[in-house]
């Protein structure tokens, strides 16, 4: 897990971008990855599309629909990732796979973990895999392959449970910023109180904050209390536009990382 561990050792204000693999076109994955890496993104969460994404709002739902219609699958995604890593000889940007449990189960959990590892992937996020089920059914397989499962906490998660999740977690904890599906905006007051509460808990794992982060202001607020933040829906909305990836990505990433002049 060198890539990710190094990142969390070395970097503050980590910017992580989520996008669904297979949009706008099936084979755009590698160009999007390249454009993100070049634009100064620190971490990429690559979404594996699913027909029934329960925790996702309209933007990511739609992106999953498009990706599936384009023919995306875990198998194809792994081929694209292999190509990306080989072409660029690029094992420098950390990539996390994110998706729901059912497609991973059908692919085969062990094969999934081993293949991911061979592509320089250190961690996955599977929102409908609870810590309880993970411990009972999957921990061994993940451990053997050297893949870390990233857990989520939400404003509803109790302190005792946050501590439990902290003790189970490696690399980082994914903080869902508000009660809602992806793309939901909460008010800053609410978020700030929640983030401050987490900060004061002095957890052993670093935090990345996601859900409803769409602007430089959101990103900065998150970085005050956590080691970085994740942007998903806001970037995907850009990809839906008419402009090319080469143009969209640097523009969007700049708008997050730098004060507009």
């Amino acid at each position: 897990m060198a890539l990710l561990a190094d990142l969390f050792q070395q970097k503050k204000n980590i910017l992580s971008i989520y996008f669904t693999a297979g949009i706008p076109n099936l084979n755009d994955t590698t160009s999007i990855l390249n454009s993100l890496e070049k634009s100064g993104v620190n971490l990429i969460e690559l979404g594996m599309p699913y027909s029934d994404p329960l925790a996702d709002g309209p933007v990511i739902q739609k992106s999953s629909d498009v990706a599936l219609k384009n023919g995306m699958s875990i198998e194809i995604l792994f081929k694209q990732l292999k190509q990306f890593r080989e072409e660029n000889n690029s094992y420098s940007i950390p990539i996390i796979l994110m998706g729901y449990l059912n497609p991973v189960l059908q692919f085969g959990v062990e094969k999934f973990c081993m293949t991911a590892k061979s592509l320089g992937i250190d961690a996955v996020i599977i929102p409908d895999l609870t810590p309880e089920v993970f411990e009972k059914e999957f921990q061994e397989t993940f451990r053997k392959a050297g893949i870390v499962n990233i857990f989520l906490i939400t404003p509803q998660t109790t302190e005792a449970r946050i501590r439990k999740i902290d003790s189970l977690s490696k690399l980082f904890i994914y903080v869902v910023s508000s009660a809602g599906v992806t793309g939901t905006q909460a008010n800053d007051d609410f978020k700030e109180k929640y983030f401050a509460r987490l900060q004061s808990m002095k957890l052993k794992n670093p935090l990345l904050i996601g859900f409803g982060i769409s602007t430089r202001k959101d990103f900065s607020l998150a970085c005050k209390y956590a080691q970085g933040a994740i942007i998903g829906s806001a970037y995907i909305r850009q990809l839906e536009g008419a402009k090319g990836i080469e143009e969209i990505t640097p523009q969007f990433i700049n708008s997050i990382l730098h004060e507009s002049k």
Binding site: S51, A55, T130, V133, I153, T184
Partner: protein, 395 residues
């Protein structure tokens, strides 16, 4: 051995595969439901409402002309005579009392045929609670009378435009609502699906059906045990209720009937046990219709209540263990069975229930057999389909 275990599983099926956003609410339910529903005050109000509001016990009716035609003894469990026209109200009453006990003020539900939506809107009116029902846009069209009923009862019906625009998608949308409103909202699920403890909870509330069948059969025949119990399966709540008290007695044949739409292998079917494999849908592990990549496929049935790509985990266990026999009926077979019941017994069944009736001709009964068919609902909501598709030459 057929009931849920302490971890929330039926054999290998069930469990709670949920995002963390739902954990607190599901945990709250899991930790409290048994204690609440077994308390005296809960049981007292539940039983009273089942009697005075729902109109229970529903009759067990010996269908003589149908029995003559099939050369056996057919009894119809008349859930169609429940207030609001289907068994769904049994569960809605139970869960609304539970929601109240948990202090929740806002009720959300999914609905396919609209019967569960109507039942939920009804109990919300009864208790003065806000009600929001998610319904696939496609289902809103084919079950329009139920949409009007829900609105009249004060519920807000939200059309769901994603996916196949049917029950599966309405369920997704209801779950997303719950994720977004975790504090004041209760999700009132309409079938024995969803994460533990929902399947067990809904089965318990529906178990009144088999409880009544036992005492009614005893009075009618001198034996509380039938030879067959037959019920249709969408998610499986009416079947769970009709089977519940007969599960342990292996001499009793339990027959579950799925909707095969235009034929099991037509590509337009909802026969989950025939077409599905082990997977996760709506928070539990069960049999699911899916591609080899694990994408859930779009089911089809003329009956909105059976148009679902999964079945409850209890039924997946009954199927794989062989405890229940799973048959299926096509759209046409269900329509014919509905016309037949109307002509022979003067009862117009719901399209869902007509699938259970259609299975009668697939079984060879002995003259002395006692066969109970769970008539889960009435056909008022399906009159448009019955009129449009009426083909006399089928008779």
């Amino acid at each position: 051995m057929w009931q849920v275990n302490n971890d929330g599983y039926y054999g290998e099926f069930g469990g709670a595969y949920i995002p963390e956003m739902l954990f607190q609410n599901i945990e709250n339910l899991r930790g409290n439901y048994l204690q609440i529903i077994s308390s005296d005050s809960f049981q007292k109000e539940f039983q009273l409402l089942l009697r005075d509001y729902v109109g229970r016990p529903t009759p067990l009716f010996k269908a003589d002309r149908l029995s003559d035609q099939l050369g056996t003894n057919i009894y119809l469990k008349r859930e169609d005579l429940c207030h609001t026209g289907a068994h769904k109200i049994n569960n809605a009453i139970g869960q609304i009392l539970l929601a109240q006990a948990l202090g929740k003020k806002r009720i959300i539900a999914e609905t396919g045929a609209g019967q569960h939506g109507v039942a939920t809107a009804t109990v919300c009116a009864l208790k003065g609670l806000e009600c929001i029902v998610y319904m696939g846009a496609e289902d809103m069209q084919r079950q329009a009378p139920n949409v009007a009923r829900m609105r009249l009862l004060g519920a807000k019906v939200i059309p769901v435009l994603s996916g196949s625009k049917t029950l599966k998608d309405a369920t997704n949308e209801a779950i997303r609502d719950w994720i977004s409103n975790p504090d004041d909202t209760y999700y009132l699920i309409g079938s024995v699906v969803g994460p533990h403890p929902y399947p067990d909870m809904v089965a318990r509330f529906q178990s009144v059906i088999s409880h009544e069948i036992k005492s009614q059969l005893l009075a009618a025949t001198g034996n509380e045990n039938p030879d067959y119990v037959i019920a249709c399966v969408g998610g499986g709540s009416n079947a769970a209720g009709a089977f519940f008290h007969f599960l342990e007695n292996k001499k009793i044949n339990l027959i579950a009937v799925e909707a095969s739409g235009q034929g099991i292998h037509s590509g337009k079917s909802a026969a989950t046990t025939q077409l599905g494999s082990i997977g996760i849908l709506h928070g539990s592990k069960s049999l699911v219709m899916q591609t080899k990549d694990g994408q859930v496929t779009e089911p089809y049935s003329i009956s909105a209540g059976l148009d679902y790509p999964g079945i409850g985990p209890m039924h997946a266990h009954l199927y794989t263990s062989g405890r229940a026999t799973f048959l299926s009926a096509t759209d046409q077979e269900a329509l014919s069975a509905a016309y037949e019941l109307a002509r022979l017994e003067g009862i117009i069944p719901a399209l869902e229930s007509a699938h259970a009736l259609a299975a009668l001709s697939q079984i060879s009964f002995r003259p002395q057999d006692v066969v109970v068919v769970n008539l889960s609902g009435r056909g008022d909501k399906d009159m448009a389909a019955y009129e449009n598709l009426y083909e006399p030459e089928l008779q």
